[in-house]
């Protein structure tokens, strides 16, 4: 798996082999499967009941029905998308298998593409039951958002992959000692991306930071849709442009960190 091979042909067979590897793993371990369902279900139940309580006691939230639970679902797409990517990567580190992959004909871009596909599969296993639970328990149908949901989903998943690619590079370079970054980095985005409140709540200087993050556009777009019944195409296009920059930057960072790992011999150790 080399930097130089980046510009050569991408093999669907090798990407398929990696997806097969993660599928075998997922199917061999019921705790892994259960975990995919457990956290999203817990989230939607907790926040769903909170939304019910607020809706009964506040006119604004009664009007803006679904913003909280919608935010929870979109946040989970962002967070679980990154975890789905990063956990598949960490499985290689935990299994001390990364050396085998690096020495195989697998290219970095193929490895990353297989992690992206796995993040979608893992996300689907967790999120689809979560949305059905929201529908049954709280009568919130996220699919009623229609086409805008696809725009929100794409922008959030692109950001989750960018973060996933970057933190995987950090773990590759620094070993499992850097594993905690995988679990925590996305939470640094949580307050800044204005998941549960509008950007206008932030102080002016911090609003600039918020608008530099693509997820902010998705959450603002979701609120505009639910409260004002308007789909903000401009927000989605801006988010898409930012995501393109983030994806390129994260891939570049991954290759730089991979090169640094080769330079420092970290691919052989991989430990703490």
């Amino acid at each position: 798996m080399t930097d130089i091979s980046l510009h050569r042909g991408i093999s669907v067979h090798r990407i398929g082999a990696m997806i097969l590897r993660y599928w075998y793993l997922l199917m061999s371990s019921w705790p892994r499967l259960l975990e995919l369902l457990y956290w999203p279900a817990l989230q939607v139940i907790t926040w769903g009941f909170l939304q019910l309580y607020i809706a009964e006691n506040a006119n604004f939230f009664a009007r803006a029905g679904g913003t909280l639970i919608g935010a929870v679902i979109l946040w989970d797409i962002l967070f679980r998308g990154q975890l789905g990517f990063s956990i598949s990567f960490l499985e290689e580190m935990w299994a001390r298998n990364i050396g085998n992959l690096m020495m195989s004909p697998l290219k970095p871009i193929e490895f990353l593409l297989s992690l992206m596909v796995m993040s979608l599969i893992r996300l689907a296993i967790g999120i689809i039951p979560m949305t059905l639970l929201a529908l049954v328990l709280f009568h919130f149908n996220v699919y009623a958002l229609g086409l805008p949901l696809i725009a929100f989903f794409c922008n959030l998943i692109f950001t989750s992959w960018s973060v996933g690619i970057f933190v995987s590079g950090l773990v590759l370079r620094n070993g499992l000692g850097a594993e905690s970054i995988v679990w925590t980095l996305m939470f640094a985005i949580l307050p800044l991306a204005c998941v549960y409140y509008p950007v206008s709540v932030l102080p002016a200087w911090l609003q600039h930071v918020a608008w530099a993050l693509p997820p902010t556009y998705a959450f603002e777009g979701m609120r505009a849709l639910l409260i004002e019944r308007t789909f903000r195409t401009d927000l989605m296009l801006e988010a898409l442009a930012l995501n393109a920059v983030l994806l390129v930057a994260s891939f570049w960072a991954f290759l730089a960190l991979l090169r640094s790992a080769r330079k420092h011999g970290s691919l052989l150790s991989g430990g703490e």
Partner: protein, 267 residues
Amino acid sequence: MTENDKASSRPTVADRISSAAIAVDHLVKVYKQTRAVDDISFSLPHGSITGLLGGNGAGKTTTIAMIMGLVLPTSGRVQVLGYRMPEDSASVLGRMNFESPYVDMPMRLTVRQNLTVFGKLYAVKNLADRIAELAEDLDLGDFIDRANGKLSAGQKTRVALAKALINRPELLLLDEPTASLDPDTADWVRAHLERYRRDNNATILLASHNMLEVERLCDRVIIMKRGRIEDDDTPEAIMARYNRTTLEEVFLDVARGRVNGAKEAAR
């Protein structure tokens, strides 16, 4: 034939390097203040088995890692099957393979699942047949559908060897291939490696602490100490040079700095 013709037909250094299975040229690896590998050069012809000997910290693993492209050299050049590493590794990684104690195979996957995944990564044709062939050759049949994590050390080594041979590599790099194995299993693995080399004209480079293994398997030995090559010859020639009857005695001479005395005594 003119003098010019003779000169042009004589293999140049560049020819020797490009025709070798592995060519290492003035290779240096520095980690902060430590020179792990200090200006080593050697080339290995196709079909040879070479042992890389040396104590802990001699630079064997770093040398093998640079040949594989897992570690970038500080300076110098590595060429594998005619391609520069790691720049051209995409052209050569499918034709080589390795086994190392520094890596494992995924524990939850069965042996068959692991071999299937690696077979697909190496684009092995008729993969099911190849896995069946390896299962027979390496006696994996009893546990091929068992999770890798539930195997004994000896079984895991055989599985790792099966993974290393899945693509019928022209070049096999082995780091301590029989470490932690009982003598019977170790002997069995050595016999298999000898057979594989003979049947496939494969080139094998193995790092080992096991002198008997190197004596039995290798037609050439490179002894390393503190990142440098201390000696490089056939096992017989090296033992004769040091006036010793086993490589283990030679190893102890080198490790304990008795090199000059031993060589002078031999003279």
